[in-house]
Symmetry: D2
Subunit: 290 residues, 4 copies
Amino acid sequence: MTDTLSFRVRSSLHYCAYEPATVLFSVRCSETSSQHVVDEVITTSAEAERFDLLVGTEQNPFTRLNFPEPGDLDIQHEARVETHPRLVAKDSIPLRGVDTADAYEFPYLFPSRYVPTDLLRSVSQDLFGHLEGACAIAEAVEDWLFENVTYVSGVSSEGTSGADTLLSRAGVCRDFAHLGITFCRALNVPARYVTAYAYGLEPADFHAAFEVYADGIWYLFDGTRRAPLNGFLRIASGRDASEVPLAMLFGNVIGSDVRVDVSWEGGSETPFEPVTREALRDSGSVLLIA
Amino acid sequence: MTDTLSFRVRSSLHYCAYEPATVLFSVRCSETSSQHVVDEVITTSAEAERFDLLVGTEQNPFTRLNFPEPGDLDIQHEARVETHPRLVAKDSIPLRGVDTADAYEFPYLFPSRYVPTDLLRSVSQDLFGHLEGACAIAEAVEDWLFENVTYVSGVSSEGTSGADTLLSRAGVCRDFAHLGITFCRALNVPARYVTAYAYGLEPADFHAAFEVYADGIWYLFDGTRRAPLNGFLRIASGRDASEVPLAMLFGNVIGSDVRVDVSWEGGSETPFEPVTREALRDSGSVLLIA
Amino acid sequence: MTDTLSFRVRSSLHYCAYEPATVLFSVRCSETSSQHVVDEVITTSAEAERFDLLVGTEQNPFTRLNFPEPGDLDIQHEARVETHPRLVAKDSIPLRGVDTADAYEFPYLFPSRYVPTDLLRSVSQDLFGHLEGACAIAEAVEDWLFENVTYVSGVSSEGTSGADTLLSRAGVCRDFAHLGITFCRALNVPARYVTAYAYGLEPADFHAAFEVYADGIWYLFDGTRRAPLNGFLRIASGRDASEVPLAMLFGNVIGSDVRVDVSWEGGSETPFEPVTREALRDSGSVLLIA
Amino acid sequence: MTDTLSFRVRSSLHYCAYEPATVLFSVRCSETSSQHVVDEVITTSAEAERFDLLVGTEQNPFTRLNFPEPGDLDIQHEARVETHPRLVAKDSIPLRGVDTADAYEFPYLFPSRYVPTDLLRSVSQDLFGHLEGACAIAEAVEDWLFENVTYVSGVSSEGTSGADTLLSRAGVCRDFAHLGITFCRALNVPARYVTAYAYGLEPADFHAAFEVYADGIWYLFDGTRRAPLNGFLRIASGRDASEVPLAMLFGNVIGSDVRVDVSWEGGSETPFEPVTREALRDSGSVLLIA
């Protein structure tokens, strides 16, 4: 699993602007210690001023597009990306508490827009309070999500928080992630939201999951279990979806018709073997892709 | 007003821990280009491991205290702080739109926990959509807050958002600031939340206000109008109160009994002249204290 | 306007049950002092046990249908209805306060599910507190709704309250009515929710509006102004939509495909003259259809 | 338990009116088939126009007081009340489904202000969906409340719904009752809210609990288990607390300082034996006090 995996991702977005407008979007892949963007191209179907930015602590790659005049615009993104996901033995991860948390960690312990930790402390304690260590808690949270929340489109919205999903027991990847993060932070485990391309996700779409922080490293968890964990290609990381929107529209502009495609391109002598939570549990490991 | 103003601030917090616990608190003053902390002392009434941190983009000064065992703890903070608040002519501030926003600005345009811009776009547009420029909008927002929201303790809580305050028309400084930020961001004006000591605030307490960003500079606004604008001593800045909590408690620990005192210590040949919004309006200026 | 107006209404509902299930629905017309159901037929496309009920203080006509086994079911409703809408001179309506409210009125002053009067007292007072009398307040509320809320499908949901609509400034007839009721009750004016067939509504659909109570009589108001006021055919009246659902489903059953048709059948020597709010205002009258 | 129990209740409320105002309050005891008000006196410390009303389907006893002028007012209520609580063998209660629900029952199946059944269907089904029969479900709900919700003052407010309490796991009698009702209605069990005096409640206060309806009869459940079930003296019954407020204030008037006292006055040859849930479970019975 320290082999290099190589993927090709393509995505397209469509916008219609009714006046000069600006769109901030996040579809490019992050450059991290475990992920290298070999090449990346963004093309637009019409003239639009483009500006790339790295935003915030996590240096998330955003792109600002200014539509100089009303009209339709297609955005095509294509990239070749190499990743080095790595397994870590769970019992090698030191247990660290909030008494050693540093300046980097604390914001991931604060409540945030979709993560009302203050509302869920008691429930989190009841469900997971007997566990110790970020990864043990996150694994139990992931199991709980998989077993208790139904993956359904259309029941949640832009306003849905982790508390809402705890009540409704239904939602999409974003909602699974927010509830997972809420449980973790409520138990003083730093947790963040990840947007990603995910190889094998059916139907193909942008994906989201959550990570917990233990002794300086982020570990990946996905309560939906709809894609192999080592097939994730990180787009952006933040405290919740409000910090890493797929797209944010300024002015009278409407988006539609998102398309995503992820293919495996080899890059290792052994073929890509999807890593599942079951396999990880059997091996006593967790996955690190940061 | 480019003179140096000198203040002495004192604050005290009291905690009772029922088990070993950790408190993260934010009472120290920021070091900025307009504010210098001449000296600062924190003392605790009992043994507690103390660790100072600078958190996030704005390098906010937090302090983590570990209570090694159950018991009471008093925290005393005292500092001497010099500030250089500066007036800027409103008509000298360039109008900048979201089409030129950069990586630093965008997070201050995103919705956040207490700032549900998506819910208030229509109302914001109705009330302030005819205005142009960050400072003109912020000034009108500040006026609106002062005229339409009643300063009342006890009607709002930790969960109160800008939308809640728009409905209730009542709250404390924190609520005024959140509603002000929501209006501004809904109109694509970058806005942030400021915690501060405020000279002249009656009764003395920690204070909060909001700032808007125009062409690289933050300008201060305070819909409560309960303290002179050039008497603010910045503690921390964030997207909203969830990022700059006065104190965050981890474990079974309870806080109480906050006390604050701010006095003017001279430091200029001319006496301190409190700057009010009316005076600023007459002079066609806004205040910059960042 | 004391002439008899005669209408024919038709509606159809479609359900698919995946198990034996029960549906409670409300599409029949009320029998009131101003409305007479000349004849009414409900037919179902398959065997289903049917039971008619008159529910609550207002004796609303509901129908309970038990689906003995899984399958599809069409419900067809058709009725001939005569109404006697009546104009009342506004200045003939006595001003009555809550100090004379009786057992019948008080529940229409309580907050209810979609009518959070406690949240909107201050705003209601600001906007309409200078007015006196149920009808004067309701008329101003109706004007405000028409001018400040946009009629849009799809932005509100089953959970949307009057407070939500005050923020979003958008919704459907149900949302207009709930916000109108909230304003009125917050000012101590008894108000209720009406479901109705509405002649001339485009596109044809079930409709909703609100009524206020003054000196023993209910008067009709409709902030959407999408149909003539004297073309309403009352289905049911309640404190809000939670008391008079179009349909409530018990068990695994799904509804779809609502169709409504209302035609004028004459019944008066003069042709039907749609009554608009403007005409009422000019005449100094309000409309009574209860 | 078919013996007559006799109690004396006293309560006092204090109001301060800043202008002529009206208060609607609910402290008198209901007259029902199982409860007889032998005598009842309300006295006020100053002149105030008093009007007694029986409100709604359940004929709840309210009192409207008009304060003709600003000032303080004490209201003293005292009554002697006889009750006939009755045990019913659980296995003698027929199982009835929503397919036989009648006009009286349906409103107790609708969602209401503090009872968002639509939000809690999935959780209710998970926790209690395997049970059959109104009393079996209600008993399990009561157990769950007792074991999972902590009785705490000050964490909930006038806006707290059953969904909020499911999240917070803490509240007062009102919150326990609302969550219990939400669970029951979400499983198609008609349920209502009861306000009562409760003998033995410590500290003495107004109390609230919930009832479920089975085959024409209401049975009492109390997830707080803070008072003997056969020591309840019914004040009012409604779909939730919004229909049976202790007091509703119209105008600038403030309430404070509620005091309650309940004493047992004998009235049976055998002394009053408090009925607990444990005793009921052992006997295979439920309690009926309606």
